[in-house]
């Protein structure tokens, strides 16, 4: 049998079946197509402006390594005029981050980009290993997410940079869409699908140029370009909802390769259908969601691989059942003096008064916060007081919920939610 020619150039031999649409391509065409698509994403959304200084959130993993490599290539090819830098977070996880940081350090040399590393221990006085040894493995992704968000912003501020790009890919976005449908969080669904997120809680803009790139193509690209990246996933446990959604996305991709893009597309369209009173923010122009709450995080460490216990799904199930009971009895739940409509979804349960609160500075650390004391400081207070395990555990599955957390810290029983 003669070798199949490449579907694009018709000259070279096809060696790659493209995951997105099963097109048979030669190596050169695949690489140029992959890069062109990211260029299209960048130009169609006007992600960058000439002369802009941009920090790449670099973990040493495949996504951020490919992002750094492609941005360097495109910046030179199309004269974006960007000044690119690498920004890494050292969570302090032995056997995971210390090794991956070595990769980032090599990348900095390979791509000739300056590298800044900010560590949890220097910022917060706690490494993730220490956090886990105190609170256990359950719910530690919450701490990691809150800490990372601030750490990225602080790292960027230290570099005098206003734009951080992250390696979120199409699979991540699709997964988040499904996950937030399952847990009923439309505001987060909307935010996850927007390519740029700006936030009143941060002077730093976040964007995801790999939003339409398939994880499988990222791996192929890294492989064929011979990129140097680190493969081990975070050793601490992922969220159950994300695990469940991830499995679903992978099955969908097997049935119809375009399904990941299609879910992303659905998510973008649904984001425009979210009623303003639910979204808790306002639309800041095309595809930019301005979030009045605190900035959206990375959704934990995003290293879900489906081995979670299912604990949060069970927790949520229990909570929903209680809500159902309240609904059936037509009772109103009153918390902290605010009336709560039991019919309203967890995502808009937060009273308007709290939501509209002015952004100020954290009294402890000076970080932008809608509360007197920011979420990270709040978590730290818990850690530092060395509270009994049970009291800290109530905050599992929360990432963006400082008001709820605050109340919990005050010892009130509040319905857990995913307010943002």
């Amino acid at each position: 049998m003669p070798p199949t020619p490449c579907a694009l150039c018709n000259a070279s031999r096809a060696l790659i079946i493209r995951p997105k649409n099963h097109q048979k391509l030669c190596k050169a065409c695949f690489i140029s197509l992959f890069e062109t698509e990211i260029h299209n994403t960048i130009t169609a959304n006007s992600l960058f402006s000439p002369g802009e200084r941009v920090a790449i959130g670099a973990s040493g993993g495949k996504d951020s390594t490919v992002l750094a490599s492609v941005l360097k290539t495109l910046n030179e090819r199309y004269n974006y005029g960007l000044k690119l830098m690498l920004l890494s977070i050292d969570e302090g996880i032995k056997g995971y981050r210390d090794d991956s940081l070595q990769t980032v350090k090599r990348n900095a040399v390979q791509y000739e980009m300056p590298l800044e590393i900010v560590g949890y221990d220097e910022l917060y006085g706690w490494t993730m290993d220490q956090v886990v040894s105190q609170i256990g493995k359950k719910g530690n992704c919450t701490y990691c997410g809150v800490f990372r968000r601030q750490a990225l912003d602080r790292g960027a501020a230290r570099l005098g940079i206003k734009h951080v790009v992250t390696g979120h890919n199409a699979d991540d976005v699709a997964e988040t869409v499904m996950m937030n449908l399952l847990r009923g969080d439309l505001p987060r669904l909307a935010r996850a699908t927007s390519i740029v997120t700006a936030s009143a809680a941060s002077e730093i803009k976040r964007s995801k140029p790999l939003k339409y790139a398939y994880e499988k193509e990222i791996v192929l690209y890294a492989h064929h370009k011979g990129l140097d990246y680190f493969t081990t996933e975070c050793i601490y446990s992922p969220e159950a909802f994300r695990g469940s959604a991830r499995t679903l996305i992978k099955s969908l991709e097997r049935v119809r390769p375009s399904a990941i893009l299609d879910v992303v597309r659905s998510g973008e369209d649904m984001a425009r259908l979210v009623p303003a009173e639910v979204s808790g923010g306002h639309r800041g122009g095309k595809d930019v969601i301005v979030n009045e709450g605190e900035a959206e995080g990375d959704g934990g460490c995003g290293s879900a691989n489906g081995r979670a216990s299912g604990g949060e799904m069970a927790d949520m199930e229990k909570q929903l059942l209680e809500n159902d009971g309240a609904r059936d009895n037509e009772t109103e739940i009153t918390v902290n003096g605010h009336k709560h409509d039991p019919n309203c979804n967890k995502s808009n349960r937060m009273p308007k008064k709290l939501r509209k609160q002015q952004m100020g500075k954290c009294a402890r650390c000076g970080y932008l916060s809608s509360q007197d004391i920011c979420k990270a400081c709040m978590l730290l207070e818990g850690l530092n007081k060395n509270r009994p395990k049970t009291q800290i555990q109530v905050s599992v599955e929360e990432e963006d919920s400082s008001p709820t957390l605050t109340r919990r810290m005050e010892g009130l029983t509040v319905i857990p939610g995913h307010q943002t």
């Binding site: 169609a44 847990r183 097997r254 119809r256 299609d262 259908l273 799904m313 949520m316 059942l321």
Partner: protein
């Protein structure tokens, strides 16, 4: 027992379909598939009507029962006995049977170039079944075929309701089914149509569509059919849950059915939460003027670069037409054909 009936009737009430005695008599179309859900729906409605008749009260509504015969596309044939049994048990309603391929008789026949050769074979106009089968076989995958059958079934029911001046359509979808649909349509790129496809009183195609079983799980309905006296079980004829023999036969809809089977088992409230959540989305027409898709009749969102360049190396930037065909189709349908 009572729980099921109460939940169904409460839904009818919220949607003002129960019919007060001052209201004019309405005609409600109830499409049945002989699945658990549609049989339960018919049973509960019939009970309410009988109770009202016994009490000498104004019935408020008539039921028109519609069975869509899908034997053209299913492996097992439809059993006429079943329909007779149903008519015997619930004799006071109007019954109609239409075949799926009868969509050709309504004016939503598609003239997409891809289907043009489905009309004739060069000698003359083909019969409905052959045309229909040709269209299905021109589709690229099992997912597409299942999707097309769903679209045609729905459009046929709606067209029938309009032709027969029905006031409303009562679909038998359970919570579980609506949750499946939410995720399934999302996966097929039709997130924008969700308010059309699953919300009560959705503006879909100019007729009111209601889902009175939206607060009931499939397993609850399954328990109900064996608890009535006499049981409804003999009236139920469901295709055995299809475990596809090959991955080529797996469909997105099938995948979601499997997925929610397990979610319903372990986390039933999460199933209900999915439906509540997607029910909050606003119908697009409220936000902007939107064209309807030639195929599914759902709204077409503006196309923009979506990470995909299929055949051309140029991104489809802000291409409002939605397709290169003569008539515009939506993103989801463009994937299907």
């Amino acid at each position: 027992m009572k729980y099921v009936a109460t939940k169904v009737l409460k839904r009818l009430e919220t949607n003002k379909l129960r019919g007060g005695f001052k209201d004019p008599q309405r005609t409600l179309l109830v499409p049945i598939s002989f699945g658990v859900s549609s049989i339960v729906l018919l049973h509960v409605l019939n009970q309410q009507l009988s109770a009202r008749a016994e009490a000498g009260r104004h019935s408020g509504y008539n039921l028109h029962i519609l069975f869509v015969d899908e034997s053209a596309v299913l492996k097992h044939a439809f059993l006429p006995d079943l329909l007779d049994m149903l008519k015997q048990r619930y004799p006071s309603h109007t019954y109609t049977v239409v075949s799926l391929e009868d969509y050709c008789d309504y004016d939503f026949d598609f003239d997409l170039p891809a289907f043009a050769d489905a009309r004739t074979n060069g000698h003359g106009v083909l019969d409905k079944i052959t045309r229909f089968k040709r269209i299905l076989s021109s589709l690229p995958s099992a997912t597409s075929r299942a999707d097309m059958i769903e679209i045609l079934r729905r459009r046929l029911i709606i067209a029938f309701a309009q032709k027969h001046a029905c006031d409303s359509i009562l679909f038998g979808d359970s919570t579980t089914r609506l949750a499946e649909k939410t995720l399934s349509e999302t996966a097929k790129g039709r997130g924008i149509s969700l308010p059309w496809l699953i919300a009560d009183g959705s503006p879909s195609h100019g007729i009111n569509c209601t889902y009175p079983l939206r607060d009931l799980l499939r397993k609850e309905l399954g328990a109900y059919v064996s608890m009535t006296l006499p049981p409804l079980t003999p009236l139920v004829c469901e295709a055995p849950s299809q475990t596809p023999t090959s991955s080529k036969e797996t469909t997105i809809d099938g995948l979601m059915t499997q997925y929610f089977e397990s979610v319903e088992q372990n986390y039933p409230s999460i199933v209900a939460n999915v439906v509540r959540t997607s029910g909050k989305l606003l119908a697009p027409s409220i936000l902007e003027d939107i064209d309807a898709c030639t195929l599914c009749g759902c709204p077409i969102a503006n196309m923009s670069w979506g990470g995909d360049q299929l055949d051309s190396a140029v991104p489809r930037l802000a291409d409002g037409s939605g397709s290169e065909h003569g008539k515009a189709i939506c993103y989801g349908c463009a994937r299907t054909v």
